[in-house]
């Protein structure tokens, strides 16, 4: 297992970034029985950022989000949101947070139009115009019963309810999963529209890396309950590199400990490796094991992120 410290990608935010944190998580831990769902997670979300919280199903993303929102007690550790302790979040602060729960659950019997009246009862601020335009954008007839909506339309309904309270912080738990391409696009448009004001922040969990590449400026990777990466998206891209290492004959089977080594794929007489924080020592380490040439190759954000998930030796989600 590669600890985040070794990758050097664990700094919470860009060090030059002095903006205030809207979310601050410190050593957050949660057990369900004997199973650890979230293990000592620490990070901060700067105001005005679009923060992608990435991880596989079951990595602990939803548990973390629920703890940040004060919907679930942590076993250890603490978190603050908008400056308040998550466990004692006052209703007034809650009204400044737009939360979209995973899977977009609805009351099937309620009509879409009635949802506006239902939801606005919980918030001191409500913009009916925003609600109506998002509903219209997703081509939903307000008279439809929520139980008859498609998955994409249900997401649209949730988005309408979330945006109508005009929050300063959006917490989206896996908003795009299961949406068709058109609904996904609408969701991305809504996210970009929301950040027109630089004071607003989006925290979203996902495993769709195209969306991350488009909209996120900060990335955090949670894997097997542990935070592997947390930094600016540009910093992340600059630091993770792919090297093609060629050998005269078969490459060595056992590699020495190369700091920041994330992934190794071998073929006949070369290794394709992904490393974090490439430096001169890395090149020397590779020469020491008999590398004839080392060539850098471009790497996509997706490959760089996937290199951070999985127990060591896993190649990807499917190809083990």
């Amino acid at each position: 297992m590669i600890a985040t410290e070794q990758c050097g990608l664990s700094n919470h935010v860009n060090p030059t970034d002095q903006r205030e944190s809207v979310i601050q998580v410190r050593g957050l831990t949660r057990y369900f029985g004997r199973k650890c769902a979230v293990d000592s997670v620490t990070f901060g979300v700067p105001r005005g950022s679009v923060f992608a919280f990435i991880g596989r199903n079951g990595a602990g993303k939803t548990t973390t989000i629920r703890m940040i929102l004060g919907l679930l007690e942590p076993t250890r550790g603490s978190s603050t949101i908008l400056g308040y302790d998550s466990t004692t979040l006052p209703p007034k602060a809650r009204g400044r947070i737009g939360y979209m729960a995973e899977g977009h659950p609805v009351y099937g019997w309620m009509r879409v139009g009635q949802y506006a009246g239902f939801q606005r009862g919980f918030y001191h601020h409500w913009n009916q115009e925003v609600f109506a335009s998002v509903i219209d954008y997703f081509a939903i007839d307000p008279r439809t019963r929520a139980g008859h909506l498609s998955h994409g339309q249900r997401a649209g309904l949730h988005l309408a309810m979330t945006l109508a309270i005009e929050p300063e912080l959006l917490m989206l738990d896996d908003p795009a999963t299961g949406l068709d391409p058109a609904a996904r696009r609408s969701l991305l448009e809504a996210m970009i529209y929301f950040t027109r004001s630089r004071e607003r922040t989006i925290f979203f969990s996902t495993h769709l890396l195209d969306d991350v590449e488009r909209v996120a400026d900060h990335v955090a990777v949670l894997d097997y309950s542990v935070l592997r990466v947390c930094c600016g998206a540009d910093t992340f891209r600059d630091r993770v590199r792919r090297l093609i290492v060629r050998f005269r004959s078969e490459p060595p089977h056992k590699l020495p400990a190369i700091p920041g080594l994330l992934q190794v794929a071998r073929s006949e007489n070369e290794l394709s490796i992904i490393v974090a924080n490439l430096n001169e020592q890395t090149e020397r380490d590779l020469e020491d094991i008999g590398a004839e040439s080392v060539e850098e190759q471009p790497i996509s954000l997706e490959d760089a992120l996937i290199a951070h998930v999985g127990r060591q030796g896993d190649k990807s989600f499917l190809l083990k």
Binding site: L188, E189, I192, R214, V215, R237
Partner: protein
């Protein structure tokens, strides 16, 4: 803005901001983006491409630094009068690098020296035809 459109792809080895920089640079060099042309605002380009506005900010900043665009206070970004920001040695180095890549690819594809020269000639003629109407041809 008749002919010029930026397009971006995700999942590529090239970051999105770099894709924008490369396309604007090429369009300005070939005249597809004429001198003085106003660029879309940061927000409108970000919303059209569906990308974070900071990505466009970063791309425009690099294009300004390289002299491809100029920023006019409160007015936005415009295609700049071409000025060379690289030294002669650096320009030569970059040209050689570009030629190397191109020749390697062409040789690998089994083209003869004559065919390669012809293709280069054709491309140059085509670009001349694009730059002439703007009076930018040296």
């Amino acid at each position: 803005m008749a002919a010029f459109h930026v397009t971006v792809t995700t999942g590529a080895g090239t970051p999105i901001y770099r894709q924008i920089v490369d396309q604007v640079r090429l369009a300005a060099a070939t005249g597809a983006l004429p001198l003085g042309q106003a660029m879309p605002s940061v927000r409108s380009l970000a919303e059209r491409l569906l990308v974070n506005a900071n990505t466009v900010v970063k791309a425009y900043a690099e294009l300004v630094r390289d002299g491809v665009l100029e920023s006019q206070q409160g007015m936005g970004f415009f295609v700049a009068q071409k000025r060379q920001v690289y030294s002669k040695a650096e320009r030569l180095r970059r040209l050689r690098q570009a030629v190397d890549n191109f020749i390697h690819e062409a040789v690998f594809l089994d083209f003869s020296a004559e065919e390669i020269r012809k293709a280069v000639e054709e491309k140059l003629t085509e670009l001349d035809w694009q730059t002439k109407p703007n009076g930018e041809k040296p």
